[in-house]
Structures are given as C-alpha cells and as structure tokens.
Subunit: 699 residues, 2 copies
C-alpha cells in the first residue's frame, strides 16, 4: 500500500527485512543475501503458512478471554534430521511463554494457547533441528541393525555434555542436579561398558525428557509475531435490544425522557437482553428536518430523525434536552447496568446543518464551488438534513482527533459499547486508527459495525478493528440461504475476525419475510437469530410483530420511529415477550449457544427445515465431544405452512448406538419426545410452533 | 523467520513499514500511525489479495517469454465514489509500464501483461478515486432526475481545469492541444449555456477519454511489487532423454567415451528429444567403490557409481579421463546442439572419499569424534562411497562459493541446464542463494530439482528457485490418481511456481506398473508423460521396455547401469523408437501440448480410461477458444486388458451442435474416426494401441 513502490522507503525496508529474515530478499539484492548469516549458515528449518493469519499478519485475529488459539504451521528442514519447535505467545509487553509443537503429519505442526487478558496478544512459531532426537533415532536404527555404534555413542556424549552446560552457562548460577545427571550420562556413553548398556542409557526416556528441556536453539527459525485482539466476552456473545428512548412516553405528542425510559428497563431485562442499544440521544437539527414518513414537509412538533445530530444545544457529546441531562444519562446507564443491561450508544459521524461544528469548523465539511456546505446525497437521493464530514479535509488531523474524542467522552462516562453508523462511508484508515486509540486506553470497548454494504467492504471493516458486524442475516430466509451464509461465516477465515451480530430487524429493515409471514415469521426469525449467532438483536416493535411497510416493495416501516414518537403497549395481545425471555434464558444456560465456531448443520429430508447443532467448545483440558453441552435446533423456515420430515441426529458423535432409544427435550416448552437411532420425525406447524430447541437427555 | 522476533531489527522494520504502508502497524505503535500521512489523510482506496502471489510475495511466480501474467485484486474505497487503477509492471531496473484495470464485479479488478525478456519482472497494483468518473455519475443521476445541477457543473469545471494543468505542470513543456480542449470544456461547463447543453458536454465520451488519461493520482494506493521469474522456454517445455555416456561402447568391459557417445546423438535427435541429460561425467572415486548391483564386493573393472564424484584426477569440474577430456565434452555439447539437443549436466553435491576437496577442505565435511570423515548414511543404510558436504560448517561461505563456482564453471562452457541431485538434503537457503547467483549472471539457466521427497519440501524447493521439478508421476498410474495429481499441479497455486517434469522412469525408479505391464505399459506411460506434462523425460532403456527389477518389491533395475557399463542394441525388435519419435513430433507441432495450464479432464464412463485435452493458451490478442490448437487424448491405463467405453467431447466449447457429425484424427497413426455429438465410443486394446491422440478435424 505504499504510494510509490519505487520510492525511498524501499532500501530501508529491504535492509530491515534482510536483518530480520535471511533469504527474504528479491533477486536484485542477491549480493546482500548472505550478509544476514553473520555467525552460522542460514537456518535449516523452514516455517510456512502459520495459521490463523489474516492477510499475512496485516490484521489480528480476535478472541475473548478463555478462548483458545490453535496454531498450525508447515515446518520442515533439509535432509533426515528430526525437528522440534514451540508456539510462543504473550500478552504484549509481557514475557513470552512457550508450548511445545506436536506433529500432525505431512510436515504440519500444531500447538495452542488460551488467552486470558483483554488487550493484544502476540504469537509466533520457533523451530529448530532436534539434534538429540535426530542422533538418538540414528543410533537406535543402527544398534537395532546390529551395527557398531561406538562413534555414535561418543558423538551423543558430546551432545549431552553440551546440553548440561547450556543452561549452566546461560544462568550463571551453577549446575543443577539435572545438569549433573546429564554429565553422568555423558560419562556412561563414553565409558568402556558394553555397547548394549550404553545404548540403553541413551534410550532412557528420562534422558529424553532432560534433553527436550534443553534444546540447542542456536540456529532456530522464528516467524514474525502475529496478533490477537482479545475483546470482552460481550463482543462474542450477547442479546441486543434497540430502542428509541424518546418513544418512552404515554403522550405521543412530546418526546419521552431518559427518566421515563428507565421505567422500561425492567421489562427489557426481564426478556433477558444483555445490551440495550439506544438510537442517538443528542440534540437534533431543525434545518431541513424531515417530517413523518421521511417527508420534506415537517409539521410542528415533528421530532425529526435522531441521526440529524447537533443543534444550538450541542453536538455528539451533548444529550438532547428533551431527553434530559448528562446526569440523567449517567443515571440511566447505572440503572440499566443494575439490571444486567449494558448500554450501547449509536455513533453516527455526521452533522445536522445546526451542529456547532458547522460554524466552528467549516473546513470539516464538503463545500460547493459557491462556498456553501454540501448535504449528503446518493444521487438522485438527497439527505438535506445531514452534512457528512470530509475525511479528506486538509484539517483532517483535528477532525480525526475530535471524532476520537467523542468516543472518549462517552467512555469517560462508562459507556463501553458503540454501534457505529455507516462506517463504510468514512475513510477506512480513520477506523483502524480510532479504534486502536480507544482500545489502547479501554480494551474492554466493543464496536459494532453497521455496514450493510458489499461483502469485501464489510469484511475489511471487521479486519480493521470492529469487534462485531451487522450482517446479511435479514436477507437470508430459506434454509439453503441460511446454511450457505452461516457456513461462510463459521467455516472460513471470516470466523477469525468477523463476529456476526444477527439483528432480526432494524429501524431501516423490515424484510418482506416479516411483512408477509405474520407471527410465525417473527417467531422463527427470533429463534434462528438467537441460536445461529452468539450475538443477535431485535429492534423494539419486533416483539409486537410490527410488520407494516411504508409501501409495497419497501423495507421501511410505515410511520417509522425514525421520524416520530411511537409510544406502544408492550404487553398487547400476541406479543412475543415470553418466547423472547425463554430463548434468552436458554442462551444464558447453554454455553453451546454462546459461540459460533462449533455450529454444524445436519441432514434433513425436507429443504424447508433447517436442522443444526451447536456444541460447547473444548476446554484447555479437552472434554470428550459427547460430554460437552450441545443444543440442537430444527426450524421451519416456511411461516405459511406446516412442514414435517425427518432429521438425522449425528448419533456417532454422541456415543449412541444405531438402534438406541433416547429422549429429546424441547427447551422452549419442556416437551419431551422419544427418539431412536439417527433419523427421526419432526413436524412444525406455524399454528403451534416454528422450531424445537432440543437437548438430548438420556444416553 | 527472524531468529528473535523481539530483537533489535523490529523497530527499524516497523518504521520502514510505516513509511511505506500507512496503517500497516500493530497496536503497540498506534501513536505513530498517523505520522505517515504527512500531507493528506490516509489513502481511501484499499487493495487486497493481489493474485498471483506466493506466500505474500516471499517468492516469485514463474513464466517464460510470451506468457501472460493475469493479475486480479480486491479493490474498494469507502462511500460511493468510483475507483480506477492500473497494473504496473516492468523488467527489473527498467521503466514501469501500466495497463488499466477492468472490473470483474464484486470489487474484483483485473489486468494482464505479457513477459518478453528473460530475467526478473515486477508487478504491482495502483488504484485511486476516479474523481471525474464519480462526479460524472452523480451529475448524470441528478440531471436525469431533472434536478438542478448548476453547482455540480461548476465543480466539474474545476476538475477538468485541474486535469488540463496536471500534465502541463508535470512536463513543463507547455500545454498540449488536449490540454487546451479540456480548458475549453471547463469554460463550457461554467458558461451560461442551457443546463442540458452543459450536461451533454460533460457526457461527451471524448471528454471521458481525455480525463481517463489524466487521473488525479495524488492519493493513490499502491501495493509492494511482486516478482516474476522469466525462464527460457525450455524450462516450460521439452522432452528429456537421460543417458550414461560411458555405456556408449560395444565393449562392456570398458567405459565408452564421449567421442563414442557422440555417435549415439543422431538416434536420440531422431526420436525428437530436446534435452540430453548426462549422468555425472566426473572422475569416480575408488575408495569403497560399489560393485555391480550395489554390492560391497567390487570386482576388477567394475566402474562404480558416477555419483561417487571425485578422484585424484579431479572433482566436479573435471571430466572422467575414461570418458575423455574437457575438449571432448565441449565437442559433445556442440554436436548435440547442432542436432537440436541441449545437454543437461547432473549436479550432485557430494564427494567420493577420493575427491580432492577431502584433502584440501576437510572442514567442508562432517566428522566423527575421532576426527575421521563421515560417509553418507540413512540408518541403517550406509553409503560408504559417498561423503556428504556439511552445509553447516563454520567455513560455509567458502563451501557455498565453491559449489556455486561449479555451476559457473559449466555455464562458462555453455551448459545451461542442470539436473540437481537430491537438493532436499542440502540447506534450502543455499539453493535460493546459489540459483539467484547463477540466474543473475545467466538468466537462461534451467535447474531441475530431483527431490523425491515429501510434498511440502518438493514445493518449497520449487518456490526457492528451481525451474522444474521431478514429481510423483511414476507412482500415479490409475486414471483417478493421474487426474487428482494433475489437478493439484495445474489447478492450484502450484501451477504458478512448480513446473513438473514427468519422467516415466529413472535409473532409480522402475515402477511395478512397468515391471508387470509389458510393452503396453511403456507405451501408455510414454504417451501420458508426453501429453499430460509439457516437460517429460525417459531414462535410456525405456525405449527397449527394460523392466526387470533386482528383486521382488524393488524399484531398482537388475544390473543397474549405476554400477556397470551397459551397452545395448538400440534397434532391437520391440523398441519404441518410432512411437517416441511420433509423440515428440506431435508435441512440437502442437502448441497445445507445450503448456500445462489449459489441461482439462473430460467425462468418460469407464474409470480405466483417462480422457483429457490441452488447448493452446490465449494470445494477448485473444483468440476464441474454438479457434485455438487443441489436442485430445484418451488413454487406457490398464496394460493388461482391453478397455472400451464412451468419452464426452465438450462440444459446447468447440462450437459443435449436439447432433453434429465431425471427424477425429489420431495423430499417432493418422486413422480417422467419424464421431457425432458429445458422447462417443472408444476401444483401446493393448494388442493394438493404448491411446489415441486426437485432433478434431471438421467443424
């Protein structure tokens, strides 16, 4: 990504690469190449294809505390010597630790470590010729063939003696007991005793153990460190609820307040949500304010979009006076936290024409030739109530700092989750820098990327630092679409860096599936979002099965809450509160549903059924697959009709015999079914239920 | 591969990377990150996943003159602006040239260039915001929607005017006619003429052309250059014949001479071979010389292995006096070349105990504790007639230089092809360095790697610089095995750097398939080697169907030429000379067979039949698929029985209608068959023929 690949940075880079990586230089500098090998010849061991690795180490992988990083690499050397190696890892700025590599065959090696702390870890592979092991293998082969090994034993004595001195010389504290034992063995190998006895001494597993602890790593090969971002658990797993606090009022003609919104918290907590995501709470612009249903004619009292941020009352660091004060906000966050709800703020980097910065920093906006400031547009569509920032402004340093400081303003008030609006319309470099800035100070911060854009852009934002990503879930409704999409998310490199957050609806997206599928559609989409993805969310109104679009073919809500105050009766008949509470309770009780990596799809004979399971990931102390928490889900993706068919239980993974009977329990309602063998019958009637969430109980 | 990833090279590297690649720095140095953006903010365009690219640019891809490098990359920017870009390429140390990128959709872009010269090329991608194109798209959308675009036109005038000045200011030679035309357009856009007329001026394709030639690349993104090694055509395509010149004698009790071997050249040339590969021609050791059939008891007159290199008469730069003199060698090379045969030398970096270096440079060998030099071994096997070099010797610089100088000695005598013996038992770093050293001086040199070892090691040697590789072909005999193996070689990343050379036999490998399959086995293996791989070879004796192993289960020849002089009657009944000549003639006549990348397997209903085609690659001026040279081959992989069945012709690629009749001609014997539609019948009787090499004649 250098602007000029032939530029002056080239030589410095080549030299740096030279000193770090012998051999890693193009033909042009072939004269330099050997200069790197000051003492010895080039390291004999090659390490290739270290995995996981995102774009050659350009980006970190992601984990949460307690998660494992299983690393593999191709490692080999010339000739027939044995090799050994270690996975090295550390929390950045701490001591390196090491785990020995084990061979998987075909020159592939592996080891793993578990991250414990928030922040940034590094990992690397080191490998070397196993001099003792190679010698022992040769000795054994020759001795077993009845050959004379006198010379080999003398050679081994030398190797063992050197090992005894290595630690001693390195530590300077005197020989250990083990060192002395090694010197003893060296004497034995050199002694006049019978060859058989000396070979037996060489083959002593205890010697092997001592020698493995003292490898000769003088010419080991090491890879450059790769990075792991360790985010809080909530970055991986959580149920989100989105709301407009201003709608928390019984009087639709005025904005609800944060104080009033507090009253809504117990209900949301009772549904089992973990994150409460608020539409922007800042002062709203008046100029070119949008009327109801996104019209240009604004009526008195129309509140306008909360995404038209900024007025005389303040910008991104102020609270809309109609909602209350900063103190009210703090109190709201504290109340929510008390109920187990973490508040997520919406961060939308754009301004209303009335934002204080329009006057204070006109250079931060885009201008027309006549000097006026441009509103947002996606021709021929116009967004007259919004001024985008100009990330290319010559005053970009001040702008970037000011935007970062918005995050810091809210982190100082205890906010740790940010849902970022349309990050794909801002310079990518800004996000990488800004997120690193915040995480450096507050590694417990979570950033959700709302980038409903093209796949590669969505992925890039995840790589550049966002902890979670909105996805295409709302547009994946058939079983086939869901299986394909989840396979991409959980079975490719994406699972290392893109954490999906499956929102079943948003204020911008009411999918036709929900518009036409009635309550059963809402039920199944809830269960699918909550069980397919460890993070999922709904936007308020979902629980009331609100499904009226502004017009045919549109995914916009009629009377969208984006442009008006929408008080609701949260307990009106037909609500999904109980189902939601049950699903979130199951998610909390079953670790299997708190991860995505173990998602597995299973066979069914009806393509309208989606049949899958999730398993609790293995612990560092490996727990047998059949003893780990595992939840099975079968869902009817057709909200319009009864679907039935057979689903195949992977009994071979569960320790069940082909003809064995067992019981499955639907965690949603406690119903139990007697099943037998692998293929079993299910029937899902939209009038009764759209899904089973099953536990296999007795085996 | 740095020995100490936390070492002192780190800071220098980070800073170099910083200046070259904004954003490409880990969290730890986040404070530095923006320092790179001195003038402007970070480049908005992201370029990812440039292909082809081997291990992040660690190794070059390979081509021969006239071959194309088709490059793809993922390229995107924030927001809705259009982007444009160029593929940049150059012969190293020459001027960069550029080809515009075109979009393939899904944010993937492509362009290609053709390499012409031997040596090293570089290629890189540059991409930028297409400021004019983005503006024009917005203008058009707004104008088409009937919106006022006065301000947009003023903005466009500015863009056009800047472009008119860009070249002018850069060249300093005054405005061109085109510059003046652009200034005119800018005036029009700004003029008081009707909006319609001004929009029409903006949309003029001629303006687009002028503007595309003057992109604003001030903030373009560029990737670091990737490399292409351009080898001579013979690295890609050639028929090899391996021989022991000492066997060219009518008297088996003494060594034949190079003069005598010259007499054999016309026959070899008549068979259509391109490369004549000689077993080592150097003086052979006497100490621990091996007897016939690799025995330890050597009889008087036993010549020993030519791979036990070196005696009092000289080492790797001498010619065995029994073969002749260096002058005789030069004469042999010249005679061969006169007949169209390029001589390939065997380079085996090992010494007999009598090699002059054993006395001159004892430090270049491995020693026992008692100071004696170790012979080669692979316990419990011993090779007492061979001393391996110690690539880890403290005197490695002198050893490496001396080994490189062996190559240079022979290149100075005009040799340009080296078949390197067992490179996988020598330090990989040596090969990367030595091959670069030779190619730097003589880019027309070819190195064939004889590494019958594990897949990743075989591949690494190819990446490290070998132009061609021996493969597992001899062990792939069923149709399924062949299709799988060729798919790996031609449809994965391997095709960018590993050029297979399919030897049907070697002095070390007489596969059971040949031992038991009789003449039909030799026929089909010849046709398969010669048509599946653009480079292939046989070791002399193959044409006589020599197939007697030293014992059951062994792949060693009985009375192996490695340990004795083996005069033969090259025209004895049953020889394959004519078939070989025909096959090589077909290879020369059909460019389709001179490449591997276009190999395609087609459907057949008999798994004993292998049915495939090769097509001439497209030219820079693309030639329609149906007009390119294309050869079809069907082979019976069962030498023991008649196999017949139906094969599917991909008529949809050939412009043939489903029911259409056409003629296929067997290039091996000129027989023509009338075929019709896609599925057609073939019968291959080992008593008659084992394969058809078909040209579809009439359509």
């Amino acid at each position: 990504m250098s602007r000029d690949p032939a530029g002056s940075g080239r030589v410095a880079k080549a030299v740096a690469a030279e000193s770090a990586e012998p051999g890693r230089v193009g033909l042009r500098s072939h004269g330099l190449r050997r200069a790197a090998f000051a003492q010895a010849t080039s390291p004999r061991v090659v390490i290739e294809h270290v995995q996981p690795q995102i774009d050659g180490g350009r980006f970190p992988i992601k984990r949460t505390p307690g998660e494992r990083v299983a690393v593999t690499a191709d490692i080999f050397a010339d000739g027939h010597d044995r090799i050994a190696g270690a996975l090295r890892f550390r929390l950045v700025d701490h001591q390196w630790r090491e785990v020995p590599l084990t061979s998987l065959g075909d020159d592939t090696w592996t080891a793993s470590f578990t991250v414990e702390e928030l922040g940034e870890y590094e990992y690397a592979i080191a490998a070397w010729i196993d001099r003792f092991g190679s010698w022992l293998a040769r000795l054994a082969a020759k001795a077993d063939a009845g050959q004379d090994v006198a010379s080999d034993l003398a050679e081994g004595a030398e190797i063992v003696q050197q090992a005894a001195s290595r630690e001693y010389q390195a530590s300077g504290v005197g020989r250990t007991e083990d060192d002395l034992r090694l010197l003893n063995v060296a004497d034995t190998l050199r002694s006049a005793r019978a060859q058989e006895a000396r070979v037996a001494a060489a083959r002593d597993p205890d010697l092997r153990r001592l020698m493995d602890a003292r490898p000769d790593r003088a010419t080991s090969t090491s890879t450059p460190p790769l990075r792991v971002t360790v985010d809080p658990e909530r970055a991986r797993y959580g149920a989100w609820y989105e709301m407009f606090p201003r709608s928390c009022t019984s009087d639709g003609r005025r904005s609800g307040t944060l104080r009033e919104a507090e009253a809504r918290l117990p209900d949301i907590a009772a549904m089992g949500f973990d994150v409460l995501y608020l539409a922007p709470v800042h002062p709203r612009g008046r100029t070119n304010r949008k009327g109801r249903n996104n019209t240009l004619s604004v009526a008195p009292g129309d509140p306008g979009s909360p995404w038209a941020i900024g007025s005389a009352e303040g910008g991104h660091t102020a609270v809309d006076p109609e909602l209350g004060t900063l103190d009210d906000f703090d109190r709201f966050v504290a109340s929510a936290r008390h109920l187990g709800l973490e508040v997520a703020l919406d961060i939308a980097f754009q301004a209303s024409p009335d934002h204080p910065w329009v006057q204070e920093h006109p250079a931060w906006f885009r201008h027309r030739p006549d000097g006026s400031i441009k509103h947002a547009e996606n021709p021929p569509k116009k967004y007259q109530d919004i001024y985008p920032f100009d990330f290319d402004t010559t005053d970009w340093r001040a702008l970037w700092d000011a935007l970062r400081d918005i995050f810091l303003f809210w982190t100082a008030r205890g906010v740790r989750i940010f849902r970022v609006d349309n990050p794909h319309t801002k310079t990518f470099g800004f996000w990488e820098w800004a997120i690193a800035e915040i995480r450096h100070r507050h590694p417990d911060t979570i950033f959700l990327s709302e980038a409903f854009t093209r796949p590669k852009v969505m992925r890039y934002l995840a790589k550049a630092g966002f902890s979670q990503s909105y996805t295409y879930f709302t547009w994946r409704n058939t079983a086939r679409e869901l299986q394909d999409y989840l396979t991409e998310l959980t079975r490719t490199e994406l699972q290392e860096y893109l954490r999906p957050n499956f929102f079943a609806n948003t204020p911008d997206i009411l999918h036709a599936y929900l518009q036409t599928g009635g309550r059963p559609a809402f039920e199944v989409r809830l269960v699918l979002a909550a069980t397919l993805s460890a993070s999922y969310g709904i936007y308020s109104g979902f629980e009331l099965c609100e499904n009226v679009p502004i017009g045919p073919g549109s995914e916009e809500y009629l009377n969208s809450e984006k442009y008006e105050i929408r008080p609701r009766d949260w307990h009106q008949p037909g609500n999904l509160n109980e189902l939601i509470a049950r699903v979130n309770q199951i998610r909390r009780a079953h670790r299997a549903l708190q991860f995505n990596g173990t998602l597995a799809f299973h066979a069914t004979d009806n393509p309208a059924l989606l049949w899958f399971s999730k398993t609790e990931p293995s612990h560092p102390r490996t727990v047998a697959l059949s003893h780990r928490d595992r939840v099975f889900v079968v869902a009817n993706t057709d909200p319009h009709g009864v679907q039935h068919g057979r689903v195949q239980v992977p009994i071979w993974e569960l320790g069940l015999e082909p003809g064995q009977s067992y019981v499955v329990e639907d965690l949603l309602d406690g119903t139990r079914y007697a099943w037998r063998g692998d293929w079993n019958y299910v029937k899902l009637d939209p009038g009764e239920r759209m899904a089973h969430v099953l536990l296999i109980r007795d085996w």
